[in-house]
Amino acid sequence: MFFKIAVRNIRAYKKRSIITVILLACTTALLVFATAYMDGSHERMIRSSVEIYPGYVQITHRDFRDSPSLENLIFDAGQVTAALADLPGIAVLTPRYESFVLFAAGNKAVGGMLTGIDPAKEGRVSRLWESRKQGEYLEETDSALVYMGSELARRLKVGVNDEVAFVGTGADYSFSADTLRVKGIFRTGLFDFDNRAAFVAKSYLDRVMGAENYATHFIVLPARPEEAAELAAAIGERLGPEYEAASWRQTMAGLVQAMRVDTIFGYITLGIIFIVIFFVVMIYTMLAVSARLREIGILRAVGTEPGQVWRMLVMESVLLALVSVVAGGLIGGSLAYYFKLHPIVFSGFEEQFKQYGLAMTDMPTAFAPLVIVRDMALMFVLSVAATLYPIHKVNGYRPIEAMHHV
């Protein structure tokens, strides 16, 4: 019965209903979209910085992260690969061998990092392949061909097909040097990385550095990146105490924290908008119910209980809120979905993004139905709550008072 009356009343006060619905729907859409944007951009930022090079899960010798010396390498890479072969959840597993060397070309000598990779697998776990700017990416069988960061190439004054020598220490501490030919040049946009890093096929580096079957670390691409931490734990268990498996949450703790700060500020910002909306809804309800004071007075005079009036009015606001929240959720949700497929592009802000370790400017939103429903529920509670005070106030009048109220 209350439902019918409520619907009739909503119809009767069309203007107020429409304005309230528009307002609430827009706010819901805003909240849904803002959350989707925030979550989406954070995920994008994390993905981007994780995927450029560090990887979701890193497997190292147990002491390597504290003391990255030649004593703490993985000395049996084959065994690691074998042990993890049947572990579910791993999409790609690939070893790397990193070594600090002195690069020399012409009369320039520059310190940097020479890393042996499995080119095909590496292309799936990091952005190296996609970041190619000139020349070609590496192949497994490449010997003495190097794929070099753009800034490092600039400092050494070399281009594709030029020669670069390196001098370093092999895995057995022996002397290691060779002349490489630049096969390709990459630019991830991360200055520090482009400025120091160069890559060669691991099979080749293993030969020159005496590092057959060695690795400084393994990178794991999880089948589901969001479960990286669980996967790292599972890998750790499988490999035993001699190894350490750390997810990006550990290897990039600072980034994780920065995203958290950003989220907090995002919610503070949204919170302030909500306060304003809360007041507006309250004001509109106030206006609506006080315009109907006489009607309410009459209802009361003919014997309607205050509780019944209360229920009737609350039912109205519940219905309005429901309609608005659903509409807003749909709008916000479809926006989130649209911008997930067609990311927002911040051209002209490359430097700002780079500073955050990001080499991209497009920000897809996240589309997570559960989060959308959560935001809708939040808005629903908020908008119903905003009407309670005015309803309570109106209901406080005595029938005669209310009837005579102008």
Partner: protein, 237 residues
């Protein structure tokens, strides 16, 4: 009786150190050296020839293993270059690499560059002496660019040859020990033919680098040609 005894002893200590250095370096020296590097994983041997004049100039050529044959190093005062035949390049070792390990040994580039400047960089004091040896404390001069807090050197009497050097950090923590053993006649003098570097740092504990001097000639004329950048390539063959 007039002189304060400590001053006398300090002078005496400085004298001893100077003599030890002279005995070790000679006016000039041509050495054949084998270096054995032991880590928890492997043992590796290198052989080389070294030509030096005092402590200012030296030229080193690797002769073994074959793949490293002909790598040469030149040190003049505080600068260091290396030549690698495989890449046909002379590379100047930049400042930022000076404290890196030299050829994977427990010696740094810097050890080679300032190897025998103890008498210049430290003030010496005799801590104790027995019939067979002195124990001398070496404190860095305030101006000296050395990382150590203190060295303690054992010197054998009466030849004044080093027995060991213990390297401490500023807090008095022992960082590494260099032992000189197996004194025998080399060239015109008695000489410690086996040097062992024992790092004491947690990270490298258990490693060691052994230097064996197999042949030595002292105080001969060495062609000045060796101490030029041209020599790096020229004598690499």
């Amino acid at each position: 009786m007039v002189f304060p005894p400590r001053l006398a002893r300090a002078d005496e200590a400085a004298e001893i150190i100077k003599k030890v250095e002279d005995n070790l370096n000679g006016r000039s020296a041509v050495l054949k050296i084998a270096m054995i590097i032991k880590t928890s994983r492997a043992t590796r041997t290198m052989k080389m020839e070294s030509f030096s004049v005092g402590s200012e100039k030296s030229f080193i050529k690797i002769t073994y293993p074959g793949k490293d044959y002909g790598i040469t190093f030149l040190k003049i005062n505080d600068a260091m270059w290396q030549y690698v035949p495989r890449i046909e390049k002379i590379i100047k070792i930049p400042a930022s690499m000076m404290l890196q390990s030299w050829m994977g040994t427990d010696f740094s580039n810097d050890d080679l560059v300032r190897e025998s400047s103890i008498s210049r960089d430290y003030t010496a004091k005799i801590l104790s002496q027995s019939d067979t040896a002195y124990e001398i404390e070496l404190l860095p001069q305030p101006e000296a660019a050395v990382v150590w807090g203190k060295l303690v050197m054992g010197v054998a009497k009466p030849e004044l040859l080093p027995q060991s050097v213990r390297y401490y950090d500023e807090e008095g923590v022992l960082v590494r020990i260099l032992e000189y053993t197996e004194v025998k006649r080399l060239g015109d003098r008695l000489y410690p033919s086996r040097w062992v570097m024992l790092p004491q740092d947690k990270e490298k504990y258990g490693n060691q680098t052994i230097i064996e001097i197999t042949e030595a000639t002292f105080d001969v004329e060495i062609d000045e040609e060796y101490f030029s950048k041209r020599a790096l390539q020229r004598f690499s063959e």
